[in-house]
Symmetry: D3
Subunit: 234 residues, 6 copies
């Protein structure tokens, strides 16, 4: 099975960080390519950045369809372009926020999202509402870090996440935590030791979700919402 993971920003270091981690989690027989668009925002720290990333993400989906990948992962916690990608692709497409929410729900009653910045709270709740599970989300707790910090200063980011996680557990009664940025990849184990609750690495959760869907032969539904768009000159 061949899976294409798309990092929606153009920060190659992040693409490589993701690649280094996911390889350890791939099932036998899973072949993974991690890539990023040729152009677009260097990191995604706002809805404006997210909007500008969509063209690149969808081009990666289109080239991945031509290359006959069996499934796709969009590896930014805003799940940018997820529904549009599902229109384009018959092979399944999974967003890392979506996959991490569902994993969290199977491990505890309520989860919190540890996000980068407090400006993202509304966007996070929009995601939770889109996937329908408001009643299972305890809170969004910003760690106060930018996406790039995740690459550049791992220790500071880890400490900020531990602090945010503690508040989520104590004040919001979260039982599971979701790392709210693809750049936080591979911090789950350290946080679990520190905080004593399951912590979801969203890219890994998405990898397991897409492997599952592919291995039982499931495809994206094409009858209504995710019907193939008519091609048009644009």
């Amino acid at each position: 099975m061949r899976i294409k993971i798309i990092n929606p920003n153009t920060c190659k270091e992040m693409t490589e960080s993701i690649a280094k981690v996911v390889v350890n989690y791939a099932a036998p027989g899973t072949e993974i390519v991690v890539t990023n668009p040729k152009s677009g925002p260097f990191t995604i720290d706002s809805l404006y950045d997210e909007a500008l990333s969509l063209k690149g993400v969808l081009e990666e989906i289109k080239s991945g369809i031509a290359d006959k990948y069996d499934g796709f992962i969009i590896a930014c916690f805003n799940d940018p372009g997820l529904f549009a990608a599902r229109e384009l692709s018959i092979a399944p497409v999974v967003g890392i926020a979506e996959a991490s929410f569902f994993a969290a729900c199977m491990l505890g009653y309520r989860f919190s999202i540890l996000s980068n910045l407090n400006s993202e709270e509304a966007a996070m709740w929009e995601l939770v509402k889109r996937y329908g599970i408001e009643s299972r989300c305890a809170s969004v707790r910003p760690a106060g870090v930018e996406v790039l910090d995740c690459e550049n200063d791992r220790t500071a980011v880890k400490n900020a996440l531990i602090q945010a996680g503690r508040l989520a557990i104590k004040k919001d009664r979260a039982e599971v935590l979701c790392l709210g940025c693809a750049g936080m990849v591979n911090l789950d184990k350290d946080l679990e030791i520190e905080l004593g609750v399951p912590v979801i690495d969203p890219v890994v959760a998405a990898l397991k979700a897409i492997e599952g869907l592919i291995s039982c032969g499931k495809k994206t539904s094409k009858i209504l919402s995710f019907r193939l768009p008519k091609s048009k000159d644009s």
Copy 2:
């Protein structure tokens, strides 16, 4: 007061149709420019088209900010890029779906959306959820028409809308109807005569909403969700 209306697709005929209608509704002293991005999808018939329109929409917002417009309207019923535009702009930005829902709520208990295609139902409900008013939306009723039909075959579109509207009233007990596409501009009066309920032209509703906000001096909140994004090379 100077308002910039952005038609997110690149179909100039639609831009002109909108311009022709809104001028009749402008308050004394309101100066309106209707425009469309230089590049992007010719019409928006899918989430994929919508995603590709965002870059152009936001460029129009940015140039509009430079030109010191007092407010902006995004004139496609998916409200593409609305929240990202609010990040960029201190002047208020209104989406035509949003404005039409609020107008509908002030005229009747439940409204229905008359959309173009049945593939759009999920996207319409996502909008309704985003603005929070699920309990006031009776249904989404597709007229089975593409965006371009709205320009090319007005009579067929009008008849399809009348039929969809009848079902919304009879089966879903809608009391108000929202025209679910900027291309349906100027059909509201004909439908009102035919169907006997208020019918909202979303571009006109948005015009009245933005005029209202501007005339009492209101600006977009800049403290959390719609904070100005950091500039970065992209």
Copy 3:
């Protein structure tokens, strides 16, 4: 266009205060009358007061219909009698709470209501639920002031509102504030300067909403919920 604004209590000073402010916001060509019922509670500080105000409000609506007004505003933040008034009137009727919520939603992600007394919280949430937008309302924050204080001690009221607003912003992450009483008219600008977020004057928001509806020729839907009531001797 002729608009009748009904202050549901019988405090003439408040009627005059409202009149003095709204005149500054009226569009060219808008003619406004602000009035109050001949009898009824002097101020509305409870649900009991609100209930007793209904008869007077609806008599003002009826005489306004006879006088062929183009639209009506009910200028108390409980929106007393709004749905009953919509039964009576073909011309649109707008409540100040309703209008301020919709304005707030176009300026930020979540809004808080600054109410008079903490006993009103349930009533405020009932309003929010009625208009459907629970998910956009961050909180109700009482300023601890009675309606009459708004007339008699502007400085104290302003200070109490600033304090309540600070809590709403800091604790509840409100991005926009709605002044929850018609008596708080004209305090929006001062609070905006102090607090740095948009503050909605509900009477002004309602004025802009009704002007918008009238200027595009919209009427109240008469087919189901707001059908004209049969006349009967009572």
Copy 4:
């Protein structure tokens, strides 16, 4: 224990019909007075009628407090003035809609309301939302009868209710039915025989609810929402 049942309209025949029925359901030791306001609408067929009934209802509550009744029932399915009455009274006050919904929830999974007119659907859903139980309400099914018909043409009303009930059971999968008007008193047994599901007489349900609250010594909470209103000259 002494209970005052207030019929909010001024139709004495209905007051008497209620009185005749409830006496059969009173617990030993329960003394019931059924009464109606001296003035107000003859029947309540609209929100306008309901609004006009409030003054009379609350006067009956006030005189009932002076007369030291142990509890009050507001016997119109709109529960007019219920929350305002709870402000006035320390003794518990029950609305017949509220009580019938709770009874229905203890007998089946989903209930439908058999209302008088289809114009009332919005008002019925507002009630359901106010009491919080949207997810348990299958539908509102109008019988197409006016309040007065309930007094004047019992057979026609019964047949219309049977027909509406059949639709609720078959189309909406209701398992319990609530008679949506105090005037439908005493029709529950006939409908149960015909339809094979529990049918709630709302006045009787309210009687049992208030008897229960009184007999375990419960009072209305006075700390926030239903605090005693300050007396004022009105």
Copy 5:
């Protein structure tokens, strides 16, 4: 009328405590038997305990049906087996959580549940969701006591409940409190004196609810969800 109250655990002292209290609240003519299963968990402090109690509870329902009781109460705040019991029984069955929520809703706007342990919060919210009334529940406040403490150390339990109740009133703005364990029986009056708000004893609330349903001749609906299960050898 003959009512069977089933204490789902096998702690006879608790069964007797319940019996001693309810007898004071029974209406004239009500005959009550309080009993517990022959085997099963000694107390119910977890979902695991609750699961193990079901067999015993349903055997008590079955023998009670054979003994022609007119109604049943399941006297543990998890309402264990309530829906299954409704399948078995034509006579009405009431859970003590359900009955206390409905009583609370008739006395104030929002109620809080005072539970035993903080591990139960999720289970309590599941109950609230099942009965549909999330919007009326302010919070679940654990007193930090085990079920058995309720029998063994009344003073400590009372003090812990007072403290939890104070937080519910002050922080969560609860207006009514529900005692969240059958073992807390008879503490309502003391808490009312201390806290100044209505406090619901759930067993007593259930007694009044079942008396009400029986005395107006209501039965469990048998058409869909609570259809009689086919007998099978198990």
Copy 6:
């Protein structure tokens, strides 16, 4: 990795049918045991049957913990005992309803459940509410078959499911279908061919979900809701 799948009923044929299918979907290195309790209901066709199955299910969980399984699946669409099993087990436990809902949500916008009997609709909605995703569930469509039919008359069951699926797609606009019974195992491919939409085999979906959780080392959260229950003599 060693996984224990528990069929909660005592029908060995069904246990074997499940075993035969899941082996084809196991990842390399996954060792699966499918088993059923020694005593309990032969099939689960009611909430009463479900209640009686819990003891056996939880005994299988306990013996599975002693046998050091890495994860558990409860293979009945009611997810009987799921939350109680999560209390007992540190290793993850997945219910087949839960897993199929999440898989469905990643393949289409709205899913329908094809259940056995129409009496189960309430129970299905309770499950959907428990997992939080009401807004993504289009409908529950009963096929009108009993659990045992799934073993004995595959063709009839398949045809009934096709018919129910067609209604779900056409009337409720479902885009994905979930087979609502473990006995419907292995019918997904046939239905997909016939209906043209993804059809989820819930046991297979749960297998993929648990494999995913185990392979990234996730455990059940033990801090609040699913804390280990105290052992007690019962």
